[in-house]
C-alpha cells in the first residue's frame, strides 16, 4: 500500500514540478518550514508558558491574540511539509523519524481539540494574575513537549532515511 502511495505521489504533476525546476523549490520550502516553526513556537510557546504560570499580569485572553501566528505558521508548514512528502515520498513514508513526527503531531492536534473543547471558555474569564486550572496547565505542558518532539523528529528525518 505504501509502495502504491509512493508511486502515485511521485507520478503527480506537483511532485515532478517541485523537484525539477532548477532546484530552488526544495531549499525555499525548507526555509519557509523553519520560519513557520518559529511563528508556531513563538506564539504557542508564550501562551503555554503563561498557562504554566510565567508572565503574571497578562490576561490569558489578551495573550491569546498571538494565536493567529500559530495558525499561520502551522498552515505554512502543512503546505511546505506536504510538498516535501509529495516530492520525495520514499524519504518519509518508510522513515521512522517521520512516524514519530506524525505521532507527536496527532497528540498535539488532539490536545488542541481537548483544550478548546474543555478549557477555553473557562480560561476566557481568567484575570491577569490568576493561575490556570490544572487541566489547562497539563495541556500546556503536553503542547510544549509535543511541538518540541515534532522539531526533534523533523530534524532526525535526515539521519533515518530508509
Amino acid at each position: 500500500m505504501i509502495d502504491a502511495l509512493t508511486q502515485w505521489l511521485k507520478s503527480t504533476w506537483l511532485s515532478k514540478v517541485f523537484l525539477h525546476n532548477g532546484g530552488w523549490s526544495w531549499p525555499l520550502s525548507e526555509t519557509l518550514h523553519f520560519i513557520g516553526l518559529c511563528m508556531l513556537i513563538g506564539s504557542i510557546g508564550l501562551i503555554d508558558l503563561r498557562l504554566l504560570g510565567l508572565g503574571k499580569g497578562i490576561r490569558f485572553l489578551d495573550l491569546h491574540r498571538f494565536v493567529v501566528f500559530a495558525v499561520a505558521g502551522f498552515a505554512l508548514n502543512v503546505v511546505s511539509g506536504s510538498l516535501f512528502l509529495i516530492g520525495e515520498p520514499d524519504q518519509y513514508l518508510l522513515n521512522h523519524a517521520f512516524h514519530f513526527k506524525v505521532a507527536f503531531f496527532v497528540i498535539a492536534g488532539g490536545n488542541v481539540l481537548a483544550f478548546y473543547g474543555t478549557q477555553f471558555q473557562r480560561l476566557k474569564l481568567l484575570g491577569p494574575d490568576d493561575v490556570a486550572p490544572l487541566p489547562a496547565r497539563v495541556m500546556a505542558a503536553i503542547s510544549l513537549i509535543c511541538w518540541i518532539g515534532v522539531i526533534v523528529a523533523g530534524r532526525m528525518l535526515t539521519f533515518y532515511r530508509p
Binding site: T31, L40, G42, G45
Partner: protein, 165 residues
C-alpha cells in the same frame, strides 16, 4: 587559514561533533537543539516585536519581560550548539560568505532585541502609545533580520563551497 582548519577538523571535539569517534548521535542531537533554540529565541523575540507593532495591544509590555529568561536559555543553547557545529565543520562555514551574512543578521536582530528590552520592556514607566511608535521601526527591522538569519542559516546547507580542508 588552511592549516588552522586542518588542525581544528582533526581535534577530538570536531571528530565527536561529526560522529567520527563512536558517538554517532552527537550531530543529530546538536542540530536538534539548534532548531529548538531557534524556535524559542527567534519566536519569542519576534512575538515581542509584533506586540510593539500593535499585535495583542492589551498585553502589558512590561509583563512580557517574564518570558526573557526562556529566550536567554534558548540563546545559550544556540551559542553552544552553534559553536559545536562550527568546530565540527569550520571549513564549510568559514569559507562560505552566506555564513557571515547569517552572523551579521543575527547580530542586528539581537541588538534590536536588547535595545527594545531595555527601552520598552524594562522602561520604568509604561510607554504611551505615541512613544511606542518611535520603536516600531526597530521592531520591524529586527523581525526582518530574524527571518533573514533563518533564510541564510537554512541555505548554508546548499551554498557551501568546501566541506572540509
Amino acid at each position: 587559514m588552511n592549516a588552522f582548519f586542518i588542525w581544528l577538523e582533526s581535534s577530538s571535539l570536531s571528530l565527536w561533533v561529526r560522529g567520527e569517534s563512536g558517538a554517532d548521535m552527537a550531530f543529530p542531537v546538536i542540530i536538534s537543539l539548534h532548531a529548538i533554540g531557534m524556535g524559542f529565541l527567534a519566536g519569542i523575540a519576534s512575538m515581542i516585536n509584533l506586540r510593539i507593532l500593535g499585535v495583542a495591544p492589551k498585553v502589558p509590555l512590561g509583563c512580557l519581560a517574564a518570558f526573557l529568561p526562556v529566550a536567554w536559555l534558548a540563546l545559550a543553547i544556540n551559542v553552544v550548539s552553534g559553536v559545536l557545529l562550527l568546530v565540527g565543520y569550520p571549513t564549510k562555514a568559514l569559507t562560505n560568505w552566506v555564513f557571515y551574512v547569517k552572523l551579521l543578521c543575527l547580530a542586528g536582530a539581537l541588538w534590536g532585541f536588547l535595545h527594545l528590552r531595555r527601552q520598552v520592556l524594562l522602561a520604568p514607566t509604561p510607554l504611551s502609545a505615541a512613544r511606542l511608535v518611535a520603536y516600531q521601526r526597530v521592531a520591524a527591522l529586527a523581525t526582518l533580520l530574524w527571518v533573514a538569519a533563518i533564510v541564510a542559516g537554512r541555505l548554508l546547507a546548499y551554498t557551501y563551497i568546501h566541506l572540509m580542508s
